[in-house]
Amino acid sequence: MIKFICKRVLQMIPILFAVSVLIFCMVRITPSDPIASMTKGRKTSAETRQSLEEKYHLDKSLPEQYLIWITNAMRGDLGDSFEYKQSVNSLIAGRLPTTAQLVLMSAVLALVIAIPTGVISAVRMNRLTDRILSVLTLIFVASPVFLTAIALMLVFALRLKMFPSFGSGKTFAENLRYLFLPSVALSLNMVALISRITRSNMIEQLNSNYAATALAKGIPYYKVVMKHCFKNAVIPVITVASIQIGTMLVGAVLVENVFALGGLGDILIGGVKSSDYPVVQGITLMLVTVFLLINLLVDIVYALIDPRIRLK
């Protein structure tokens, strides 16, 4: 088991390294002039230009720049933003809580809704309940996250005035109310996807031989579903869900944009638009790391639940 975890962690390191190189190169793929965007196109003296270039190490060669960035990043320093005149670390620190809470709330919401729906759909396969749920999931899979967000905002915030339509609260509790609609919007996509997968997994398990054995033992149907099939069906769903968390991290950018929550998404998109290299690099690297860590964590949880992996 410990060997398994070590192996997974070691596998992550080269991938992270490659990811950092990829990010660094991609951001610089077309030559643009960051100084110009920094100074908003105003004419600058050669002196200021040079001092700015020195400050951000833009005068050095690309490999050197990469080395400086990555060694600092490993120490936990992601550099200074061109645009905001402060460190990327402090930018992230200020905005991370909102984004993290949003993603967390929607992930919990999604799992709590999706798994029971999927199970019900599977048990009532081809009946009316299943058909209605299936049509709904099909629509939610096809509906882009920002559209769901806008529709929810229109109905519940602007028309019914049940929730605030934008902004975020100061404390965690206050945020619950501000973040409710955004997290619903963010989760619906995942709800649809996961309930579809749960359904098909569950149907497969219900048709399995061991389910027949359990029925032949005289175990009542609901108990066969809940005790025998449920665990077998849901374990693979966890893996899919962990990959979906990645989609959610990006979806959060869109939802934050709609509800003006002022999370990480705003500065990331701002950075992309204004060629703010350190911001784009830093936030992307952080999100990818978080994504990989979540996947790692899920793999470990998976191994803990499934004896076939745990005992090997």
Binding site: I23, I139, A142
Partner: protein, 314 residues
């Protein structure tokens, strides 16, 4: 993933057409419906200059934020451009760029997958690791980074998404190639002395086409969604051109005045994506008719009786 057709028994629309083939019907009710919708949307987009009553860029401030009326069927936006017209033209941009994304990913992903599956070894390892790295990014995030590099605009958005879609397709083609590679016909082709390229593209590829087609249809749906997301964030098309995503972005500021400005392009996206999903699913059913909802005994007996009567008449 749960298949739509698992839930809705695909009834044949024209039972006569499928007399030879017992299974795997192409023209089923959901399939025909979705193809009708898709056809209609595509037709509207192609014929946009002919059927739209206004020009997509023509401003008319008198009609600013006009509500739906006979003059503007769906209303007009802030500078008085007709929404319906813009919807047609926006659809052109959206569909064309989505096709571009998929074309890019096919052009790169299929050869990569074939090479990686057919040769194995070093080529496979290198391609596999590169795919791993790209897949380490949460879907759209890589597209953000690429757009940051390429600069904003529809072209860079298309290329960025195309790159993001390559590894998935490459992996699919690789796994299909691995299956086909060990079949006798490949061995036979090799023993005749055909070149590797010929075996890959002329012998193996046609046998993978059906699965790839299903995936492409689905990718097209995802491409529409992802492109809309990029445009919505202002990283895709730049004004005055607009696709459905950008229109949604413009329209959301006037939710209370005319919600259609945001909802109409949204609904257009949903309808197209749902139709594509059903098509992909229908194709899958057609190529591999395994799971299908079974009729009830009553239905089956009725059908059998009808068949008997028909035969009796004939």
């Amino acid at each position: 993933m749960a298949k739509f057709s698992e839930i809705f028994w695909h009834k044949p629309l024209f039972p006569g057409i499928h007399k030879k083939k017992q299974e795997g019907r192409f023209f089923t009710v959901p399939m025909v419906l979705s193809m009708l919708f898709l056809g209609l949307i595509i037709l509207c987009c192609i014929l946009a200059p002919a059927i739209s009553p206004y020009s997509p860029t023509e401003q008319n401030l008198q009609d600013s934020l006009a509500l739906p009326s006979m003059k503007h069927l769906l209303g007009a936006d802030k500078v008085g451009r007709d929404l319906l017209t813009r919807l047609f033209y926006g659809g052109r941009t959206t569909l064309l760029s989505a096709i571009g994304v998929v074309a890019f990913s096919v052009a790169a992903g299929v050869p990569l997958g074939l090479v990686s599956g057919y040769y194995g070894g070093l080529a496979d390892a290198v391609i596999g690791r590169v795919c791993d790295v790209v897949l380490a990014f949460p879907s759209l995030l890589l597209a953000f980074v690429l757009v940051a590099g390429f600069g904003r605009g529809m072209f860079s958005a298309v290329v960025a998404l195309g790159i993001v879609y390559v590894p998935m397709l490459a992996r699919l083609v690789r796994s299909l190639t691995l299956v086909e590679k060990n079949k006798t016909y490949v061995e036979a082709a090799g023993s005749i002395g055909y070149s590797d390229a010929r075996i890959m593209f002329i012998h193996i590829l046609p046998n993978c086409v059906s699965t790839i087609t299903v995936q492409i249809t689905l990718d097209l749906a995802y491409a529409i969604l992802d492109l809309a997301s990029l445009s919505f964030l202002g990283l895709g098309v730049q004004p005055p051109t607009a696709d459905w995503g950008a229109m949604l972005d413009e329209g959301r500021n006037f939710l209370l005045q005319n919600p259609l400005l945001a909802l109409a392009p949204g609904i257009a996206i949903i309808v197209t994506v749902v139709a594509l999903n059903i098509c992909s699913d229908g194709l899958h059913q057609y190529f591999e008719p395994v799971q299908r909802k079974l009729p009830s005994f009553k239905q089956a007996e009725k059908q059998a009786e009808r068949r008997k009567r028909k035969e009796g008449v004939a």
